[in-house]
């Protein structure tokens, strides 16, 4: 099947798949972002067990392959009588892994804060949480826009894990497998998805540099 045939026959489904990938990406990134911030707060907190927990969390989810994590959630948990629906498994996997990277980016964003600012905050009587909320997280976020942009793209690519389980609606990778088992899309079917991934990544990259220019901290 050629390019035009594929598009005329499956155009609507590609569009649906693109929206699905966007939706999965948005949900995963939002989740990863929130958990990433919480884990980071734990990692710099004055409470040692929390710091250790945060570090272990990051070590685990930064180093586990997405497919392995998904298989664990889908096929291993049921042995423990824990069964999640497929889409929940995919979402959990695509939140946990990027959240570890999100925390790493925030930690390096924090390194741009001079220790003197922390001392100034302490000597003004700010508590740990006030300092986190008003000084540390805002500066860490504003100095990590570009790595976060990359993380958003990486998160999108991770959502292709959805194609590994029978999840509906299909995402951009899932649709390729579908077409190639029911029809003869060949490489062309894949190229269409690849282009859609790339265009999305390009748009994310552009938006990221715009935001970065706007919020970057003058030092």
């Amino acid at each position: 099947m050629g390019f035009t045939d594929l598009l005329s026959k499956y155009g609507a489904q590609y569009f649906q798949a693109l929206l699905t990938t966007w939706r999965l990406t948005a949900i995963s990134f939002a989740g990863a972002f929130i958990i990433g911030i919480l884990i980071t707060v734990a990692r710099v907190s004055p409470i040692r067990p929390l710091r250790i927990f945060g570090d272990i969390y990051v070590q685990i989810f930064r180093n586990i392959p997405g497919a392995a994590l998904l298989i664990l959630l889908v096929y291993a948990l049921p042995y423990l009588q824990i069964v999640f629906p497929y889409d929940v498994c995919v979402t959990v996997a695509t939140i946990l892994i990027p959240s570890a990277f999100c925390s790493e980016h925030l930690m390096s964003g924090m390194n741009t804060i001079s220790p003197g600012q922390i001392e100034a905050a302490r000597s003004l009587g700010l508590t740990f949480l006030q300092m986190i909320r008003r000084i540390i997280i805002p500066q860490a976020l504003r100095s990590s826009v570009l790595p976060m942009t990359n993380l958003l793209v990486a998160t999108m690519l991770t959502t292709s894990l959805a194609s590994q389980v029978p999840m509906r609606p299909r995402d951009l990778t899932g649709i390729v497998s579908y077409i190639n088992t029911h029809d003869t899309g060949g490489v062309t079917a894949f190229v269409i998805s690849a282009v859609l991934y790339c265009l999305t990544a390009f748009a994310i990259g552009k938006a990221g540099s715009l935001v970065d220019r706007k919020v970057r901290i003058l030092r």
């Binding site: 804060i113 100034a120 003058l218």
Partner: protein, 250 residues
Amino acid sequence: MDNHSPVPMIELRHVEKYYGDLHVLQDISLSVRRGEVVVIIGPSGSGKSTLCRSINRLETIDSGEILLEGNPIPQEGKKLAELRAQIGMVFQSFNLFAHMSVLDNITLAPVEVLKKGRKEAREEALQLLERVGVRDQADKVPAQLSGGQQQRAAIARSLAMHPKVMLFDEPTSALDPEMIQEVLNVIAELAKEGMTMLIVTHEMNFARRVADRVIFMDGGQIVEENTPDCFFSDPASQRARDFLHSLHAE
């Protein structure tokens, strides 16, 4: 105000501190009365910063006691934060919050810590900026200000908390020569208004002008406590004499 209050504003009793094997504070006892300006002088590495920083517990001490108006400095947590809010600290490197406007730098702690209303905090911040002469820089971020302006804004930030005492750790050492005076003038003004202050400085003329008392430190010890006039014209200790000579030789 009662200048003869029996309870000192700050009191250190037999304070000891080590960095590993280095005995940085050796049996330091010292008190600062309400409204008094005490200047600490001494060669590099003598422990002046450590002394200053241990008063609001940016450094912990190994033994001895530090009291603010007779109350010991709490160990940690909310109590410590409350105490720190009453002690202003001005650093050599200004340490303004880089991501906020100068105005927000000043209103942050009054709003967060003292729970002041935003509007009230803002008005007071503008008055303070006026007082230190950087009112027109209020909406800029710190990096857009000169060093002297940043340091004056940092002083305003401390003053916004209405501290009982102000600590200055070499407030002009990071400044270009032409900006030193503008910062010293602000501090001298505070002295005139009766602010209790502990000032570490290498500016000898300034020290002589504002100090009620000079403390000379060397090798982690207080070697001499004297009036500024006696200290600069006829120091009691040999080490202080040597130190002052070394300055003149430069």
